[in-house]
Amino acid sequence: MSSTINKQPIKVGILEISSQNRAILEFFFSGAGKSYFNEVDLDKASAYIIDYDSLGAKESWESTFNETKKPGIIISIKEVNLPSTIWLQKPLTVKALTEAGESIRKMMLDNVSPEPVTKKSEKKKVTASEADIVIIEDSAEDILDGEKPLEALDTSPQIQAKDINTKPETLSINDIIDLPSKPIDLILQENKISEDSNDNVDIFVELQKANKSEVKIEPQEEALDFEADLITLIDETAESPKEELLVVEETAETQASANSVEPLITTKEKPKLSDTGTKESTSSSNFASSENFIDVDLSLEDPDIKNDKTESEQKSSTTPVDGYEATNSNEDDDIDSLLESLISGETNEKPVTEPHDKVSNIVTTSNDELTTLETVEVEVKTITPDNLADIPEITNINSKDFAQTNTKASKVLPKEEDHAKTAEEELQSLLEEIRQEAEGSPVNSTSTSSHEKSEVMQKYAPTNAEERWKALCGESNTTDLQKIIYFNPSNHLITPLIQNIKRSKESGNVLRMKFNGFIIVIDPELDRIYCDRDISSDFYANICYELIPLEKIKVHQLDKSEIRLYRKKMKEDAVHTHYIEAFIWTSSLLTSRGRLPKNTNMKNKIGLTSWPNLTRVEAIPHMMQIAALFHKNTWSLFELINKSDIQKNYVIAFYNAALALDVIQIDGETTNSTPLDLKTNNKKHRSFLSRFLKKLTA
């Protein structure tokens, strides 16, 4: 082995790989594997490493190998037999990696490898429940032995999970030091980023070849953290293939399948509010599961993939003109009827007044460099019945023709130049950018405390409050039911927002959405969202209200270090940190502004399955009463607006927000429940309650 160590490290390029396995490899490369591997750019690599369980890995390897004919190490749970490759079974161990390094080196020297080689992990036959323990033990031991000659490594396959179970904490600094003849130099460095959080102390461990005399040891407390970090790091290798497939950076494969497979948000069966009569399925108009909510493509841009889109997929692409222009091919009928009605002036008056034209332009401006926060103001006319003729035919918004023939659209739509970067470059810049963002200050803001946030939220004097309510609920101050405006939620930010919150909650992953330099980070564990813009700003109001090219939204799953940075930021920047429910609430209101989601039947009976968390959402008039009315009984929007004195825009606003929060249940058109006559309750009691409420709200 000593002769091997003197050899030059193999220049290795990493192809598709999960973030966890990448972290393990990086850890290995920086320490025990330093003499075997040197990670380089793909074009300079002499060999490759690929996680074969990652999406698109097979295709990636095929094309790379066909092009370069260079050998590779294939990491996979299942055995992979390919020429010029070495299979490494998951979970990764230092020993297996070093052996693979030897083999690949030999393969390169021989310059031929007709037969595939496999390197299985020794302890592959543990049960699932024991797997974690085995991994910890196995890997820890291997790390200690990482610089030992391979033949000296105990390859005893008889290590039983039971034995390991009895002493899971086998790795400590003292153990490392005491191990005989371990030429390992340990340097522990505390990451100062999270010094205020005991849980988040980050230890970087560098295992370097050196004499034992060079060993530097930090205090024992850090040693424990080192153990924990190692265990955490190694633990993650035990992920199932399924989990690895959940990496949110979608690849070509998922992108291609996104339009052909069922939507990500699936309809959830809900208990009915009543047991009589024919009822509509909740899913038919539930905000999160509505058919309006198509599954949008959230992947990194890739022009090749776009070119490969089928005609039908192109048709399904959305055109960012809402309410007046249908966006999907299957909405042709709606478009026709909509156009007819517009011409006849029967419906869909001009959308709610646009008080923020300038800012709205920013929203719809496409910026070549999405990684910057710069915005360019351009003129974008609001689409009205008068300029309807200017609206282009329904087409693929990504097509060159569309962009060239419509100047308005060309400002909205991504240009071909946007796709010039390769996926790898983009990903790298993305990761760098995340760290910069997390370390830097939010746009247009400085660090703020909870107290400052409170001031911001309460800044509305009566007049300002009314202005805000207009932005949230629209301007209609009548109960005239003839003037209802509809919109298609699937063309707005709210749809991918809800989808990603759902994904994030289900997977437990912290996700970061980005659109035109505007960032939303979803942290399900803390139940918080970090948004780098003030959600009470005109900018955010318009980004919600305006139609946006949803395929330009990029979603990235944050790794541990990024999460730490963002959590630190959330702690310091209360103004930009929100409860998830509150964020959905406000975003939904800003999207709808008194309009109803397309296909809403105003005569459907509606009930609340749960009250929204009204102490943490942005207040709108009558929200408490509307919640109580929908909770106590089922009402149609039509009934409630007719029978109560509450303005329709507040009822509709509440309905939209509750729908987005998934606490609305549609109960069909039946009148199963006894209609609540709002005027027949005990007058004396009501009078008392009314006085009490006045006192409370004074």
């Binding site: 009250w611 102490t615 309750n681 009501r686 409420l693």
Partner: protein, 181 residues
């Protein structure tokens, strides 16, 4: 004050959930409390605890008054609960999210005050959610569904008058959604 109409609202919940603080936030007068130095396991959570009740009130005009009563948190003082809940307009249950088993607390208090639940005169406030985000409001909603209870659940800071006021407003609207302000 002989013609004054009296109503009362009850605050209950485990030790340290914020009952005394919530009443303090709403009361028009300094509250009367029967705090004693904690001697049992309560002392791990706070130095003093309510042994009999907390009391404050809200005046509505000159002739009406809403009395706010807080029950002692410890179960061994539960004889006070029956006395206090008699004639109450509604119940506010405060659950401390930082305790070991908030679900059990929820079960216990909803069962102990089931007469309010049957009449739909109950709201639930979850305290200390800022520091302890789990269990979430969604978890509480799920637990309430399991208990077949339908009630508003809000996260609250008992020190914030606005939060406690929102709980009371929700209680009043739950009792009569048709009430107009």
């Amino acid at each position: 004050m002989s013609n004054t109409q009296h109503k009362k609202i009850l605050f209950t919940g485990p030790v340290g959930a914020g009952k005394t603080t919530a009443i303090q936030s709403m009361s028009d007068v300094p509250i009367i409390t029967t705090d004693e130095q904690a001697t049992d396991m309560t002392k791990d959570r706070k130095g003093h605890t309510t042994v009999s009740m907390d009391y404050g009130y809200i005046n509505i005009g000159t002739k009406e008054r809403i009395h706010l009563y807080g029950t002692p948190g410890q179960e061994r003082f539960d004889f006070m609960w029956d006395i206090l809940k008699n004639g109450a307009l509604g119940l506010i249950i405060l659950i401390d999210n930082s305790r070991k088993n908030p679900q059990q607390d929820l079960k216990f208090y909803t069962k102990s005050f089931k007469e309010f639940i049957e009449k739909g005169e109950i709201v639930i406030g979850i305290t200390r959610m800022d520091d302890h985000s789990k269990p979430s409001i969604d978890d509480y909603r799920g637990w309430l569904k399991e208990l077949n209870i339908s009630a508003p659940v809000f996260s609250v800071d008992a020190r914030e008058k606005l939060d406690v006021s929102s709980l009371i407003q929700a209680l009043l609207y739950t009792m009569d959604p048709g009430v107009a302000v």
